[in-house]
Symmetry: C2
Subunit: 318 residues, 2 copies
């Protein structure tokens, strides 16, 4: 369900590094070669390339790319080349340190904590401590006020069971509990936070399905009718990232592209983060929501090497 295309026969890390070296050395930079190599390697292959490059040339590949490339293309290639847990720790930190911390920033934290595997989130927390000399949760506490703080700390601290195991009775009981809390408009109640932050993703999807079936509306609709405040918005993003991450990211990409100007940072983040996970599904959801083609939309709103790189991640360039 990913769109990343890795060749059947992958060159050795040394071969890749030699070509990357040629691409960044001398006059001018061969962006096409960089896209052709890095845009077709998965996370563990990119890791080996980083390590081999460092050994062979005694310099960091990321630093070199940073000095050779520019603009949105540089940002995208560097995010893609950074180890995923470190990348997400940096994205989370950037969001928490932003001057304006609206839902656009907070949803980055939700994506990392609710649309990633439990082990990935754990690695992000470790990377965060190494990079920023404090824990992710401490920065959430100092950057976000209550009640949003409570929800974000809880999902950031989660380490959910990671197998597909659903207890239908629990799903029905917790759907009823969620319904009760939402109907009485107590969205920051401890019960709702404990359910959303401790249950495994499959269990929660069953709970949301039971909610819909037993109470006529989706949980998203019912929270929406509680109000348009930040608490409602945040909970809706949490639920969407758990229930249908592909829908969430399709919307992020849509918002980044549609209308005046392009939000390249959001577009890059979504495609880089999901190219190895579910960009194929995101493509389908994008069409469902916006009645237009994701590839066409990205092509229409970007240009040059940046466009070529994103389209490579989307599997449209070989």
């Amino acid at each position: 369900m990913a769109t990343l295309r890795v060749p059947e026969v992958v060159p050795s890390p040394t071969q890749d590094c030699e070509k990357l070296r040629d691409a960044v050395q001398g006059l001018g930079t061969d962006e096409k070669a960089i896209i052709l190599i890095l845009g077709h390697r998965n996370a563990s292959q990119r890791k080996k390339i980083r390590e081999t490059y460092e050994q062979l040339y005694n310099e960091s590949l990321i630093d070199r790319l940073n000095s050779e490339l520019s603009g949105d293309f540089r940002k995208a290639v560097i995010l893609w080349t950074t180890d995923p847990p470190e990348r997400d720790a940096k994205l989370a930190n950037e969001a928490l340190k932003a001057k304006k911390k609206g839902m656009k920033q907070l949803q980055v934290i939700v994506e990392i904590t609710c649309a990633s595997s439990p082990n990935h989130l754990q690695e992000v927390r470790q990377a965060y401590c190494s990079l920023f000399d404090c824990s992710l949760e401490e920065d959430i506490v100092s950057a976000v006020s209550l009640p949003l703080r409570k929800i974000l700390v809880a999902v950031a601290s989660s380490y959910r069971y990671d197998k597909e195991l659903v207890d239908t009775k629990v799903a029905n009981a917790e759907a009823a509990k969620l319904h009760e809390v939402i109907k009485s408009n107590k969205l920051d109640q401890d019960d709702i936070i404990l359910i959303l932050s401790t249950r495994n993703f499959h269990q929660l999807r069953a709970t949301f399905a039971s909610y819909n079936q037993n109470f006529g509306n989706s949980i998203d609709q019912d929270i929406k009718s509680c109000g348009k405040g930040d608490l409602e918005s945040l909970l809706r993003v949490v639920i969407k990232c758990i229930d249908t991450p592909e829908k969430h990211f399709a919307e992020v990409i849509g918002e980044a592209i549609i209308g005046f100007g392009t939000d390249e940072d959001s577009l890059t983040r979504a495609l880089v983060a999901r190219a190895e996970i579910d960009t194929m599904k995101i493509r389908g959801e994008y069409f469902n929501i916006f009645k237009t083609n994701l590839d066409g939309a990205v092509t229409g709103d970007t240009s040059g090497d940046y466009k070529d790189f994103l389209m490579t991640l989307l599997g449209a360039r070989i």
Copy 2:
């Protein structure tokens, strides 16, 4: 500060396994040999012994010990030989599944979550998911009612920054916040839980010191004067396990030994869990609190191989 004594020249895992095999095979079991080997190996050495034993004899060392030994000695040797994260996951599960869940059971969860390193706790959470098909937090939620549930889930979910980094301003500010909350008897307030579950151990110790200095009483005394309920007790254990784990474990051992009968499970748990961490400090604290010698107390209340094994962990047998 540990009391475990590992010989300067450690035999190879194969040599150890051959001796262990001799000790468990044939008529009778050589308990002395088992103590002599396992009681003088650290966690990573024991891990290699377990792996080598499995390879050499195609059976689990733990299963074999389980069928050869008996009573409190068996329990202690098996706890000691089990990988520490798995051991703590099992102890936590046992505590949460106990019919009666008083402070004695809940303090086991607090020890594992507040008196262990952040990485160890993370490994415990992973082991818990593998062993019990749900997360530690889910079992806390179903076993413990509010408000204790909130506190235990928060500390169990923590992944604290792990270096000695203290911000004195933050310590003073958070000591004041804690004081305010405690003075108004709102012990389950979100602020207090967030502080206790997100800050690093060194920072929290500075906060408790600042509390003492600025408000005349220790935080423990002030919580104590809020009441004698479970909430007060649980918070006091949390704070003690963070601030002075050696004091907490000295008290656990004291309670296990002093008075009528012995609580072997608690005694074993404390010594097995801490023999590689701070039993030397616990010995000192024990003397401070009970005005008597820890080694003498343990010797007086235990007997046979069980006694020999515990005294080996305490470094009193070579």
